[in-house]
């Protein structure tokens, strides 16, 4: 049986196709990822973009629509996926996906382009507590992206630059617009770019950490979402949370789509 999970993020659409496995002598290998696919939509029409992303994923996996038993959607635009049988919240999908990758995970931190959130999960991957920031982008990837643009750096360079700094410059602005003014002031006061990059990522991390602390840090901590690719942010978040080790999946942006596909598979039984 094959099922699909589609994560309709604000920046990209992620599709994960999973297959139920029957491996003799290894009951823990219940599901395997058949194909993962990401698309940056050029179309403002989300349902058209979702259909395109799904079609591309099917083609890449060599599958037809009828081969897939169920399609579930998650993410901010999940309601736009007309062909999805069900919509799952980002919390439920993220917790499920993180638990599949790291069965001992009890704290999940999800930082994507639009929103950041902290979740606590149980042993089955059910979200038992969550907190997000529903108001602004200050605790999310788009904030870091806007600030990297102000420094004329790519996001990758921005993260790497942050790791080269050992200074802690507080950024007081909560809003992206005002924070950009602070970054401009720091540039004018000849503050090295590395220090500014660290200040920005420390600020994002402290806002994400405030949400995580609301639910409590417990057990193994897993970071998911596109921001995990930013090494500087991961370091800042570890420092803010006061933890030495966090688990980082290889493809962190796909974890919610994976969780969604897993829930779709479980509900077919």
């Amino acid at each position: 049986m094959i099922t699909a999970g589609i994560d309709m993020g604000s920046r990209s659409i992620k599709v994960v196709l999973i297959e139920e496995l029957k491996v003799d002598g290894a009951p823990q290998l219940k599901y395997g990822v058949k194909k993962s696919h990401i698309m940056m939509p050029g179309d403002l029409d989300q349902d058209v973009a979702a259909d395109k992303a799904y079609k591309e994923a099917l083609e890449a996996a060599g599958l037809k629509r009828e081969d897939v038993k169920a399609v579930f959607a998650t993410g901010a635009g999940r309601k736009q996926v007309a062909f999805a049988a069900e919509g799952i919240t980002e919390m439920t999908a993220g917790a499920k996906g993180a638990n599949f990758m790291y069965p001992m995970a009890r704290t999940v931190v999800d930082v994507g382009a639009e929103e950041g959130r902290g979740m606590k999960t149980d042993a089955e991957g059910k979200a038992i507590d969550f907190a997000g920031n529903e108001k602004c982008a200050a605790g999310a990837g788009s904030f870091a992206e806007a600030m990297s643009r102000a420094l004329q750096m790519t996001l990758k360079e921005f993260g790497e630059a942050s790791l080269k700094s050992d200074k802690s410059i507080p950024m007081n602005a909560q809003c992206t617009v005002f924070a950009e003014s602070e970054v401009v002031s720091l540039i004018h006061s000849s503050t090295p770019k590395n220090d500014i990059a660290k200040a920005v990522l420390d600020a994002v991390a402290s806002r994400v950490c405030a949400m995580v602390r609301r639910v409590g840090i417990e057990g193994e901590v897993v970071l998911i979402g596109g921001m995990v690719h930013n090494a500087g942010f991961v370091q800042s978040l570890k420092t803010a949370m006061g933890v030495d080790a966090v688990s980082l999946p290889d493809m962190p942006e796909y974890i919610s789509a994976l969780g969604c596909a897993l829930i779709a598979a479980e509900r077919q039984h």
Partner: protein, 94 residues
């Protein structure tokens, strides 16, 4: 599940926490829905097919302002939503 709806900004932390385990078996008939003067709550079916109350999305971004009238400065001694919620599922962070 403890669901925290709201945000943190430069002026403070504004979250309404709803304990969905208490909410599922609501003995007050979801009285919070009518108790809130701003009608901020609504009942939804969650991902586990349980009927629970949540804070409407647009209100999640404006809690500090929406709830201001029910705080002591608005003449209330206790919050109408928390008073109506006899199972004690609703809490305010501020």
């Amino acid at each position: 599940m403890i669901a925290n709806y709201g945000y943190k900004d430069g002026s403070g932390e504004y979250y309404i926490s709803i304990d969905t385990d208490k909410c599922i078996s609501c003995s007050a008939g979801h009285a919070c829905l009518t108790a809130c003067p701003k009608s901020m709550f609504e009942t939804i079916t969650d991902d586990y097919d349980d009927e629970v109350t949540w804070v409407k999305k647009p209100n999640c971004r404006t809690l500090a302002y929406d709830c201001a009238d029910c705080k002591p400065s608005g003449g209330y001694t206790s919050l109408p939503c928390m008073t109506a919620c006899t199972p004690g599922a609703i809490k305010h962070s501020w």
